[in-house]
């Protein structure tokens, strides 16, 4: 198409439809490992920090190592799944999601360290991890 080639309204609409289809296809093909990872990370760390905040002794040790193992397994699975892919690699959205998770996780770990045994504080911070990561996953799934 050049300046001398008229673009008919029907042709313009077909191009718009094609652009929408391609954009959605490319995004759908790449985003699910990321959505799954952020959701699973949220669930694992939320449950883990809640268990760590409310238990002592062997139960605390089990919760601690269980959370570490689950998180490590998730990261390994994620790294293998996205191997060779570049989607989200430099994305601001993805960076924002991970930063949001990290802030809530740091708050929950702070409660485990400095307010150990507080049901209210543990419940709020662990729930916050879950809410934030679910919101990130939902936003990505609906985009």
């Amino acid at each position: 198409m050049s300046d001398t080639t008229p673009v008919a309204p029907a042709e313009a609409q077909a191009l718009l439809d094609r652009a929408e289809h391609l954009s959605r296809s490319a995004h759908n093909a790449t985003r699910w490992p990321y959505i799954t990872f952020i959701l699973a990370l949220g669930v694992a760390t939320s449950m883990g920090t809640l268990a760590m905040g409310l238990t002592t002794g062997n139960a605390f040790g089990l919760a601690y190592f269980g959370t570490l193992t689950a998180t490590f397994a998730l990261i390994m699975f994620f790294m293998i799944t996205i191997r060779g892919r570049s989607a989200f690699a430099r994305g601001r959205r993805w960076t924002a999601y991970i930063a949001s998770w990290f802030v809530t996780y740091a708050a929950a770990i702070s409660v485990v360290i400095w307010a150990h045994g507080s049901v209210l504080a543990s419940g709020i911070t662990s729930a916050l991890i879950l809410v934030v990561t679910m919101a990130c996953a939902a936003r990505e799934a609906r985009s």
């Binding site: 198409m1 050049s2 300046d3 080639t5 008229p6 673009v7 008919a8 309204p9 029907a10 313009a12 609409q13 191009l15 718009l16 094609r18 652009a19 929408e20 391609l22 954009s23 959605r24 296809s25 490319a26 995004h27 093909a29 790449t30 985003r31 191997r83 060779g84 892919r85 570049s86 989607a87 989200f88 690699a89 430099r90 994305g91 985009s143």
Partner: protein
């Protein structure tokens, strides 16, 4: 300014009127960054054809091409730049204008 010059088609981005380049930028619209392989699979073209069009888009500043290695395997990533996104949005806006028959 003549009546012909006022037609919205004159505002269409010259570079994005090529079907392959149009498809490449469309694929990167939501995802922002994709690997060369991912774009090739979505657009359904050969490596050499994609490479040629990517070079043109990179030259125009619409795409940023990243090179890295995953082990011994070279990995190329394609990212839509701010300039490329602006051009793409303007191109789509013009197409919408034409589609609505507002000319």
């Amino acid at each position: 300014m003549t009546a012909i010059e006022q037609h919205p088609r004159h505002r269409l981005d010259e570079l994005l009127q090529n079907p392959v380049r149009f498809s490449i930028v469309a694929a990167l619209d939501r995802a922002s960054t994709l690997s060369f392989k991912e774009v090739r699979d979505v657009v359904e073209i050969t490596d050499s054809a994609l490479s040629k069009q990517v070079s043109l888009l990179e030259g125009a500043g619409y795409l940023a091409v990243g090179k890295s290695f995953a082990g011994k395997m070279p990995r190329t990533s394609l990212t839509l730049t701010r300039e490329g996104r602006a051009a793409w949005k303007a191109h789509l806006a013009t197409l919408r204008e034409i589609a609505q028959g507002l000319s």
